[in-house]
Amino acid sequence: MSAADTTTAESRETTEIRPFEPVLGDRFVLAWPHLVLTCWFCGLFLILSHLPLVHTELWGHITAGNEIILAAELPQNEPSLSLAEGMPYASPTWLSQITLASVNNVGGADALSGLLALIQLFALLAFSFAIYFRTTKKRYALAAAVGLVAVSFAFSTALLPRVFGGVCLASMLLILALLPQWNGFASKSAKKKGEWPIWVWFAVPALFAIWANFDISFVAGLLVLVCIAIGRIVDVVRKTSSLLTVLIDRQTRRMVVLAELAAIATLVNPYGWNLWGYAVGSGVNSFWVLAGGWHPLVLASLTGLGFVAIWLIAIACIRFSTATWRSEEVLLLASFSLAVACNEQLIVWFAPVAGFILFPRIREMLESSGVFQMEWMQRIEASAVPALASEGDAERRPLRFAYSLCSVLVVWIAFALSPLSNPLFGGDPRSPDHQFSTQTPLGVANYLAELQPDTLIWAPSYWGDFLNLNAKSDPGYFANSNLRVLPAQAQLDFDHIRRAGPGTNRLLGRYNVGVIVVDVTRQKDLSAVIKANTTDWRLAYQDDQAAVYISRKTGFPKAASETVSELRLGSQPNKTQLALGGIQ
């Protein structure tokens, strides 16, 4: 046999023996836990991307964002409220507003839903990775992702600046988890040495510089760093009984300087150090007011139950964990718990911070309990290890990629089923009924977009943002979700009209309100008062959700009188128009 024949034969033999040999290495082999994680995150992404958009503040932020883009400067007054002229106004979430407005301008409601899903997915992934680095186990990463969603889902479904803040908070926790003292993968010597990689000194200030322009929750990030720094000082003093050792301790100095660098980085914003004034101030633009103000936690609520669940876990950790509690952990749990007690919405800050502290202890507790030594757990653990190329018989070797392929398939299916795939696959946008929450006044929005009143419009504050989106002329709406920036008298008068108090018609005249939008299900008293005053008001539009009355006194409408001279009953919104641009 010649050499050439030998080579040909070997080549044929090779082809015959390994017809499906994969080109990817072992690092791409996944196990079933990866598939479970993929399914969880993709499922969550799908749910979030199909959630209807909220009917309230989101649209105000989009209007503000458009104003900023148009004027290329930050507004001095609330951009939608003519009655708020001269009132102090600040927009510390301006970068979120620009982002939201740009996404809406490019892709409309479907793109906004996609943005919400992507942001939340990214935040959850960052948090899960942080927990993974803390615990070194994927099961805790999955548990953290599930737990965080369970506790704060109610506040995570609205596309508001705080979701951008959530990404930043999770990213900061991930950075911290990569540092030796919080990283479960770090060796004991590395922990003792406590050296930080150089990139941390750039990454954290850069993160805070961005965060401070996206959302007010950068204060929570600073609080985390400050609590860690103070906790470290307390621990060093307790350990050595000397204040001077604090100055010698490198770890303490590093933490203090990192917190200070982060704080200084937050000054990179259009308001400069005034932003700090808003952070601690008490005016209408203070962060406390922007975060929802005094809104105490109610234990008998979903949020309250989540809070209790976290604290029950914390109590179990205190009771059963053998590791020493550090002062920073106590400070963090105490300060964030206090914040939630005053304002339940802050659970979106508390939950990830609590998870960051508690999961290593949960791991320690569970592992010392022997639960993972049980036979069935051992079997599960063994099955969770990815198959390596060197293992198993040759015929089954390619099957070790089954979970990898399934994971990729799940990701692809999730993308294909989400509205984000429409530009790629040419699918139709969702109908307005699916794009917007059921409380969104689509019919009224469509009617008023056609009418374009040039007079002040009174509408429920929770509809003001959405309805204002298509308003092209002043003076616009009496109020929106930024009711707080109206002068106090106007706020009182708005509320008086909402409650249909005595003299409502006189008050409407004082503000020269020409159009009233009444929520017929929630404002029955006002509806009755306006309906009874046929001298001043005539019903111009009505559907199941709202009624629109037009003043006879203001002589409105003039130009549009021909098109709206008759009452429109049960008029349905022009859904195609709304979907294609009416609400963009």
């Binding site: 009132m87 102090p88 704080a263 004034g277 601690v280 106090a488 503000y511 020269n512």
Partner: protein
């Protein structure tokens, strides 16, 4: 223990940074949480006088008759305070009368500014003036011994030329007119129900067009104030909305002497008042009067607080009053003015004393309007 150099550097940096981290937020919070910021005042109100002298509107003889009938017969116990301040605004502080039933201008002013004088006519009841944390308050709409409208008394004193340091005597001690003005500003809210007289007074004392910050934290300029005045439907407000028109006119007049408004705001006021004039011309009755329906001449329906003659005297007198102070570009044709003036004269001549006493507040506007049309800021014709 010897500290390493890096520790010393750390101490030094913290000595600088920590106070900054605590101090800056507190300092800036006081800046961003804007508090009340009062405007500057001139020491005496700017003079805004009549611009015209037209005997076609009212002749000397007619004016003398009207003034005689409208002399302030307020001497004696318990004169209504809103009569006193309307009469003071009409007659001015220099007015003297031979009639013992009448109060002189100075006597009227003393009742308003001096608690001792007030007490001589209103022995019982609460004082008119009261010192509180904001300054000096005037009691409003609490009966005949109080002022009829928010800041009306203050505006009256401004229009008769009261300087800022003019002494006030209250039951709690001495004060000045400045305290009255400061109280009004500290209480002022742009969306309050009655604002016409506060705006008028501010315009008369404003040395510049600088804005100020109200108790609500709102930065208010005269432009915003003017927009607020023009915001409501025309007939809204006291005296069928006429005081809003008068205040707008004074804003224009003051602006001619010193900048108060931006050009666009001034133009908005002119457009607004020209629209009003056009409506008044179109809706004037053949006899010369207007009624409460002056903006649109829609039928007057429902129960009215005043009878037809009183309403017409009120609407017509006020219209002539603001036109008397307005730039000529805002005037109606002369015929409109003459018909209105002559109708007023005839009505006043025919009025019985009892009716004059009943409607004295808005009749004082009629008398003042007719005087202004003869170029008299305060009536020059003696009633002695």
């Amino acid at each position: 223990m010897t500290l390493p150099k890096i520790a010393l550097a750390f101490i030094a940096s913290q000595a600088l940074l920590l106070p900054a981290f605590i101090g800056i937020p507190i300092w800036r919070s006081t800046v961003v949480d804007s508090s009340i910021e009062l405007p500057e005042f001139r020491s005496e109100p700017i003079e805004v006088g009549p611009l015209y002298n037209d005997e076609r509107v009212v002749t000397d003889e007619q004016l003398a008759t009207v003034l005689h009938k409208l002399r302030p017969r307020l001497a004696g116990e318990k004169p209504k305070i809103n009569y006193v301040d309307h009469a003071l605004r009409f007659w001015g502080t220099d007015a003297e009368f031979d009639d013992a039933q009448c109060l002189s201008g100075e006597q009227m002013r003393q009742i308003l500014v001096d608690h001792r004088a007030f007490k001589t006519v209103w022995e019982e009841g609460k004082p008119l003036l009261a010192i509180d944390a904001k300054g000096v308050a005037v009691r409003v709409q609490e009966g005949a011994e109080t002022s009829s409208h928010v800041d009306h008394t203050m505006a009256t004193l401004a229009e008769v030329g009261t300087p800022l340091d003019f002494p006030l005597v209250t039951a709690q001690g001495d004060a000045t007119y400045r305290d009255l003005l400061i109280h009004a500003l500290r209480s002022f809210r742009l969306n309050q129900r009655e604002y016409e007289w506060t705006a008028l007074t501010l315009a008369l004392y404003a040395p510049t067009n600088k804005s100020w910050v109200t108790r609500e934290g709102q930065q208010v300029s005269f432009d915003l104030l003017a927009d607020r005045i023009m915001r409501e439907p025309l007939s809204n407000g006291v005296c069928f909305g006429n005081h809003r028109l008068y205040t707008l006119t004074i804003l224009l007049r003051v602006d001619e002497q010193q900048p108060l408004l931006t050009p666009p705001a001034r133009q908005r006021i002119i457009d607004h008042l020209q629209d009003v004039t056009s409506r008044l011309v179109n809706n004037q009755s053949p006899e010369g009067w207007w009624d409460s329906n002056w903006p649109d001449a829609q039928p007057v329906v429902g129960k009215q607080k005043l009878d037809a003659t009183s309403r017409r005297l009120l609407a017509t007198g006020h219209a002539l009053e603001w036109w008397a102070m307005a730039p000529a570009e805002l005037h109606p044709p002369k015929e409109t003015l003459v018909r209105a003036g002559q109708w007023l004269v005839v009505e006043i001549e025919q009025m019985e004393d009892a009716n004059i006493e009943k409607d004295y507040t808005f009749l004082s506007h009629v008398g003042r309007a007719l005087s202004l049309w003869r170029g008299q800021q305060t009536p020059l014709i003696s009633n002695r």
